[in-house]
Symmetry: C2
Subunit: 163 residues, 2 copies
């Protein structure tokens, strides 16, 4: 008697998938707009801001690795590094064993700026979080991490899956 599994579950899955797609698309648009709007306040581009944040979160790293974190080509990463170097937000660490690599390290200036940015953002996020129920509030970052990881794992790590 039981209806086949697929006829019950697939349609609802498809609906959820479509709604998830819409929700993510809208979220990305809003976030991009907000970031464009905000980043300029600190005389940084959005990418530069992401790069700084990544270097702080994961510690000093070579240019290429920074690119990997940001899903950017090494040439783009190189130019990002150049911009941050010129603003004295990062510096090149003393020569390493391997003479090819350039280890990028956040300067004190960079840390100060990042703290300021994070503080400003945290103020906004705290207001935002207060509109959510406490359990949602705590679960939200975890859920987003899971979502990110799943999408990231699904998107080919290095090579483009495109076309």
């Amino acid at each position: 008697m039981s209806a086949p599994f697929e006829t019950i579950n697939r349609p609802s899955l498809i609906r959820d998938a479509a709604r998830l797609q819409e929700a993510l698309a809208e979220l990305i648009r809003v976030l991009q707009f907000r970031d464009r709007d905000r980043a300029c306040c600190y005389d940084l581009s959005v990418s530069q801001c992401h790069a700084l944040e990544t270097l702080i979160q994961h510690g000093p790293m070579p240019v290429t690795q920074l690119g990997d974190h940001l899903y950017l080509e090494k040439s783009t990463a190189s130019r990002l590094a150049k911009a941050l170097l010129e603003k004295d937000l990062v510096r090149k660490r003393a020569p390493q064993a391997d003479g090819r690599v350039v280890i990028l390290q956040v300067t004190e200036t960079g840390h100060r700026l990042a703290r300021k940015i994070l503080n400003d953002l945290a103020d906004e996020y705290m207001d935002l979080l207060e509109e959510f129920e406490p359990e949602v509030r705590a679960a939200l970052p975890l859920l987003l991490d899971r979502l990110t990881q799943t999408i990231s794992g699904r998107t080919d790590p290095q090579e483009l899956t495109c076309c």
Copy 2:
């Protein structure tokens, strides 16, 4: 004896806020990368894809309104429309009462392409959703919508708040 409200709750709020910031930053990077990777498969730019999706989701609308939906300047919206027109994905609706406005309407070709894109994405999202518990699965889009709305409401609707 009871510790003051703030000393207990503020720090946890601050932590949640910082983690939310990190999670959203990473999510946006992954999504941007994925979209860059995917859009080219359909001979569309990422923006063009968003425009098409918006026109389908909200129905025919003038150029400027499309720009509002996408948080884009009207000139950018105009060029987006031009690109979609040239690809025969949208067309200009017959002249309206107000002779200035151009109502953009998705063509049959546009609908076909959008369906294809959505199907491909839905396949991915369905796999993705299966990794979540059923109740999370259903709640996820709602939660993301709420998040989007809150951020969007907080980001100034039209004027830039920057600097």
